[in-house]
Symmetry: D2
């Protein structure tokens, strides 16, 4: 297959964790950094709706009581800070089910016919119905926008690759807290397991179809 | 839990793709670069056997006819070279079932009681019996040595994390072709989802148990 | 392990498809037949709440547009009627997301702390978060009430068995449309892969704990 | 889709646990009962090879040390005998890896290009590469022969159904120890989730293709 081709009738658009907690509820600095990413997500959404491409929203979803959360031992917390006295003690995640924090940002608001994929772990595929939703519509290619790149986007892409899905990572519609891992994924890791493109390039692929 | 503790009775040691094709069958330059990694793998193996820790070998396993291989569209081949004329055309993998290339290197030769995990995709968990083998022995912690870090080691670690396994990445017993992604994983990505340690540190953790 | 023992701290109670569509929305004949099953489900629920056993509700969950539904070829429809002219043509399922039909019956109404498991296929484990919810609470035993026995209860029990969960089928808290398969499962199939008990027997097992 | 049609280019033939331990190593009575089932399996195999249909062999595969085996609590052993004094104590399975018992019967001997699927649980899909092997060849329909019907054949069929595979159960090429569950599956359970046909009928479907 040619790497510049796209069959939009077999393509889905996935927004990963584009939730209030990570944007409208974040610091001014984060918001400023995220703004162009959100703008590109909006452009992708509008173009996808016009092309009849199904839209999926992966959403972190956690219980208020903290049950069901991941409890593995890590060297640091999610901000790369080592645990005080070496005692691994993850806090309960902010995106609890039904809260404002857990809602998709209004800029790319889901419609009734879109797919909401609540999830309890990092990968969009992990114990969710994402795979069956894709397969029963004949989708074999996933366009991916969101963040964090080195957490859920990477986890989803590794899983998608092993499940034989083609993935297109939209570089300027993705966000990450760490520049070194963002660059390593986009330049060195993803090109061997997926395609890495800009929003402009993806919109160009859509237009070729029409 | 304290990040310096290890319960060896709940721990398994996983060697990822330590196969002839990637070492004895590789270029002199690669062999030279891999040598200290293999030496550390041997040290881990000996210490694990002494401590009664079960040993698992993840092994790429492919059909000669190329069926069952991954067929997703990527920007480049596995050496980061763009496809000629943009035509994605992956070759058949060298580690075909039963070949010399696919065998575990003699330095860390498996014994009859060890676990061989043939696999067709990157993650050691993907459509293999690794998870049930671990759970039915009560193992919740995986010590990981091998390569490539940004391919199968990363893929396995993301999957392990979502399945609630604790992972200890043995930095100097792992290999990778690309320095930027190696550094990003070890410094920025893995510490938030696992523990990153040297061979010496892991051997120290084993000794504390005795 | 002794087959009459139960560790309630490692036990969960699962109600399978106890939804309006299958009871309050069903024919008078079905309602009459189901009434004692519902009564026993209520007794199980009350006893489980008293013992601090977590409650899970598996709920058929379907899209109004029929996407995501199963589309396999079968000899008959769900009532065992061959397809007219041999053309397999499954209708869209009544339990669409958010509808009255899809809600759990009021008799065993879920509380905020209970687990709702929406599902698109028969098995409660298939592409749902049921497994991770169980494991992260240390649950290894599932008490199962609901119907249909030869559809979702069987499917869930086969999957649970392969995932190493102990299952206790509560015979008089389960329903089925067909007497031959109900008897075969309870007498011949389930005893080799699970335990089959009455509501009274299960309540007795709970009491032994206190 | 019409229930009498079959696209052989999207079809695979699966033999489930047609192993020495269950036939040549069994009692004379079992052998006699199994003989026509094996004869039909041979007819299916020959016809499938002629039609270019890929062949898969699901094979129970167990460790000599008994690790990795299922350890769930059941009311009875596999012969429906209650455990002495209620102590559930499953023996180690006879089909240990590499043994004569675990080999496929010579009557339907695998060729190099066929697919061997070793498995540790009942379902052919459970933590095996069966699903990826099917999908990467574009197979959506599984013809199933083997036994036991109420153990692995049923378990595989429930899983296949949830994964959106069409299944054709070849009634007279399947075996079971219990007549009540055999009849219930073939008459009442399988027709709603699959197609149930005789060997003659399946061979007729193959011929229509040519």
């Amino acid at each position: 297959m040619n790497v510049n081709e796209l069959n939009t009738s077999k393509t889905g658009l996935l927004f990963f964790d584009m939730l209030n907690v990570y944007y409208h509820g974040a610091s001014e600095e984060t918001k400023k950094k995220m703004k162009p990413v959100v703008d590109n997500a909006v452009r992708l959404l509008n173009a996808a709706r016009k092309s009849g491409i199904p839209i999926f929203y992966a959403m972190a979803n956690h219980r208020k009581d903290g049950n069901s959360r991941s409890i593995t031992v890590t060297d640091t917390d999610m901000r790369l800070r080592p645990w005080p006295d070496g005692v691994c003690n993850p806090s309960i995640h902010g995106a609890t089910e039904g809260s404002w924090e857990q809602k998709v940002i209004a800029e790319i608001e889901p419609k009734a016919e879109d797919y909401l994929i609540p999830k309890y772990r990092w990968s969009t595929f992990h114990q969710t119905y994402f795979d069956l939703a894709l397969r029963s519509r004949g989708i074999d290619t996933i366009i991916l926008s969101g963040g964090a790149v080195d957490v859920g986007v990477a986890s989803t892409t590794y899983a998608a690759r092993d499940l034989d899905y083609n993935v297109i990572i939209v570089r300027d519609a993705c966000s990450n807290s760490h520049d070194d891992s963002m660059a390593a994924f986009m330049d060195t890791v993803f090109p061997r397991m997926a395609r890495v493109r800009t929003t402009d390039q993806v919109l160009g692929m859509f237009r070729k179809q029409i």
